[in-house]
Symmetry: C2
Subunit: 229 residues, 2 copies
Amino acid sequence: MRDAYHEELDSIGDGLVEMARLVGSAIGRATTAILDADLKLAEAVIAGDAKVDDLQRDLEARAIALLARQQPVATDLRIVVTSLRMSADLERSGDLAQHVAKLARLRFPETAVPRDLHSTVLEMGQLAQRLMAKAGEVLITKDVDLALQLEQDDDAMDLLHRALFQHLMDDRWQHGIETAVDVTLLGRYYERFADHAVSVAKRVVYLVTGEHADELGHSAAQGDAAEAQ
Amino acid sequence: MRDAYHEELDSIGDGLVEMARLVGSAIGRATTAILDADLKLAEAVIAGDAKVDDLQRDLEARAIALLARQQPVATDLRIVVTSLRMSADLERSGDLAQHVAKLARLRFPETAVPRDLHSTVLEMGQLAQRLMAKAGEVLITKDVDLALQLEQDDDAMDLLHRALFQHLMDDRWQHGIETAVDVTLLGRYYERFADHAVSVAKRVVYLVTGEHADELGHSAAQGDAAEAQ
């Protein structure tokens, strides 16, 4: 009985790792799609999000079934409840990658990102992908040190976001309002994606140590774009 | 034993209703703060979000304690798990109201919203507040018809969001890039706030009927700003 139980728990963990892998890949591909104005790639990312949604639904159903059947307490209960939260973080990350891809599709055959911002957006996309890769690794290894590293990476994301805004506000900005709007939203998508990756890692810290890294990741969400301007 | 159990369940429900009330009030006051460039009000909204966060933490702790102690199954289990999700929606709504207030603070003594967009932003703020008031009412009454009404209200929000973007994209826009960025983010905050209110209502529908209004509110989240442009 206990063995079946831990197998189920493991399979929920595997589901989370798979979700992290998928959304990490999605944000990387969405970034390529928007920088290269690659419609096919954008469409693939948009369609691919259904898989992430399916995984989440599946994972939730299994978590609830496990709660009902096995009625875990203490640490085990905490793991299941926290898994539900992490799956919501990862599902939302998938939505954000999809938003980037939708913006690529909306502007095709143009690119939403002017050339002088390519490198900043590329860095944000790569950093977002690395953050999610680390979050996936933290899910597997439960490595608290690695989890705490994600906060530093998130600081780097905030700097990039700030640089993006500074560029927008520069008097020499000559790409018009539509592009300014696109770039503003894009910056927000990457920032929120990073927040969710950090949140997943923090929830692992909470599971391992019983202590909130700070406030369950909410403070990260509060480093809002308005402040980054 | 069962009575104590249902009392605990009720108190979780009360916590959700109180959260909805607080964040509904917060988005209303944040809207006033940003339209009137009222720094004191903005500060009050920003500080007030801590209360929402506390309520969420408290609610989560009680939900987890209830799961551990009472080990509910079937409908009762579904209620507790869904309450956890709704509390996350409401906490996030509070963050978004806080973002609006922070933008008001950032631009003080100026207002972030140009005069010709006041009425649109006011409408978005009022609609957001009404949506959350309805979500709170749905939490109390479990009224499925009222819950489904929220989707129509959300369509109205999408229209307002679209109008905001059209105004931004108009050749006659003369408020510069910074204001365009502010208005873009503001539109996104209201839209997301509305999504979370709709999500709460949909989760109630799921609890009452056992059927997802659609996909647990994700489709609402996918009506993303990029598409609204």
